[in-house]
Symmetry: C2
Subunit: 341 residues, 2 copies
Amino acid sequence: MNKPVTIKDIARKFRCSPSTVSRALNNHPSINEDTRRNLQEYAQKVGYQRNQVSLNLLNTKTASIGVIVPTINNYYESAIIEGIDGVLHPLGYTLNICVTNEQYLLESEYVTKLLSNRVEGIFLSVSQETYDSGHYEHLENVGKRNLPLIFIDRDYEGFSAGSVTIDDYHGAFAAVEHLVNTGRRRIAHLKGPNGMAVTEQRFRGYTECLAKYGLPVEEELIINTNFKVESALDPTAQLLELEQRPDAIFGVNDQVAIGAMKVIREKGRRVPEDIAVVGFDNSPISPYISPSLTSVARPGRQIGEEAARIFLNYTNTAKKDVPVHLVLPSELIIRDSSGGR
Amino acid sequence: MNKPVTIKDIARKFRCSPSTVSRALNNHPSINEDTRRNLQEYAQKVGYQRNQVSLNLLNTKTASIGVIVPTINNYYESAIIEGIDGVLHPLGYTLNICVTNEQYLLESEYVTKLLSNRVEGIFLSVSQETYDSGHYEHLENVGKRNLPLIFIDRDYEGFSAGSVTIDDYHGAFAAVEHLVNTGRRRIAHLKGPNGMAVTEQRFRGYTECLAKYGLPVEEELIINTNFKVESALDPTAQLLELEQRPDAIFGVNDQVAIGAMKVIREKGRRVPEDIAVVGFDNSPISPYISPSLTSVARPGRQIGEEAARIFLNYTNTAKKDVPVHLVLPSELIIRDSSGGR
DNA sequence: ATGGGTATTGCAAACGTTTGAAATTTTTTG
DNA sequence: CAAAAAATTTCAAACGTTTGCAATACCCAT
């Protein structure tokens, strides 16, 4: 690993000043044609790469922005990132992706690191731990810097920043309403971890929809999961052993719904005839599993794109004072697992 | 967006020199206890964050490394990244993740950008276009810098660099052998795009296994896909309409296998009774779909970890001259879709 | 008070690049 | 051929931080 060639190196070699080299490489008009060509050829030959770090220091800007997410190992999250990148990359921005693994400590550490690295904005999908703890001290310095901060996916009301979320509430409501409309009366809910925004919004959609149709909200039909397939297995088995079995299950996401379907089948019940199943996320395989999974679509890519636009708006107009809160609609995609149509 | 507080700002405020501030903030012993406390308190109050950019310049190192992948929207790829991060993050490295979307142009652009940003190593999973074109000029400057370069997942023989790949060949071989051993005789293959390393290695495993058991390799049983679910639909339909229908399908990945299963069912055939199906990747949902999918597991996380270790070895020992090539084994996970056991 | 020692602080250079202004060289013109 | 104009190159400062060395301030004993 040899040290990179610098402008000074080239200047020494050609017995000229660094300024000349710099200008030559940047095609500055006041440089002699021959000089320019020679210097450019030589730079090319020795593989000169301008040192962006020094430029970042000089210009006190970095054209890089931080993206903090709980995980990237997941269709939805990575779609968001692709959305952000899709808008910002063509404008020359570099993404600095940080994975918190749902841990407050990592999230906090990453915020500091990004601030230290002088990113020009931060996109933050708050980790579960952070949400639980309600600690937002790690964002204080972001506030002091008045740096563009955009909450993604999980909003945090108590902080002056932009946000792009999806309408979990109405998505869940629509899902449950669909089940009611197709004749289901005992609708169970495999809930996410308590306290998280997505979890609670979807739960609220579930309960309020039941209420609307005069159906009782029954404790025994509501069980927590942690979003993962495995965490749906025991709860589903539990539901199937109830005196009064449910005739439908609304899963907090597709993973959970898929886990539920597996258990239902293993216990000799049919989907959707005996028990209808609806998920959330509309993950890419949902149309292809059997039975195909009815699910609420979250426009991940669009969320990323909108978030990026909000960021651009902040930086271009300096109207940082008016935080933009965008709530994108979610859409129920009806397939076979819910008995359809 | 106010400009960040600098050491100079603090020094001016306290009518002392920047050196003093710097030392105070770094707990240098030669600083007066009172001065130290005052400065630290003030720095804390105004939200001082040391400018890492300037430090990177000063130390001519950045503790950041580049990761270039075709996509992150995929279990396997993101597992690799998590593996790299798992090893390197605790050591203070920052990951710079770049998504090429399988495009040579983007890949090339990103290499330049990373070089410019003075990353200390590059992990590269070559894009499909790059592989097809055989162009590796964009890596020339990496070579000139003699910067640690580690090929991931898809090796490139013609370049002096480390690599971590998995044994696609033996994985595919095992998959097909399993089908042969369970009595299948007309085994079709939904192949990946021609020319790609993974595609061809798996294809070779397929053909050589057939050869080993004296089975013919038949043109009509081999159809290309592009790894996506949708791309498996028509090819599978085509296979089902053959005079002599296959009794098994080996998909180049799980997505393709899942697509195939859907079509098989839709056409009124049963999996695995009529047609056995095997995939590749062992994606997280494969145990939970119905029938559960037999698949070859690729240890994504482990690949990332090993790649990171190779990188560390390069930087620690300066023995860059001996490129390490690691081939991790893949493992066949037998489930229901292949008729089991 | 004076010298010697220690504790504390400041100076200046360095990292690599850009850029306005000044300096130098070359060309043009009368 | 000299002076003015144009073309080309160099100087120096700046971005923010660290650090070896020099400088200053403080304390104690003689």
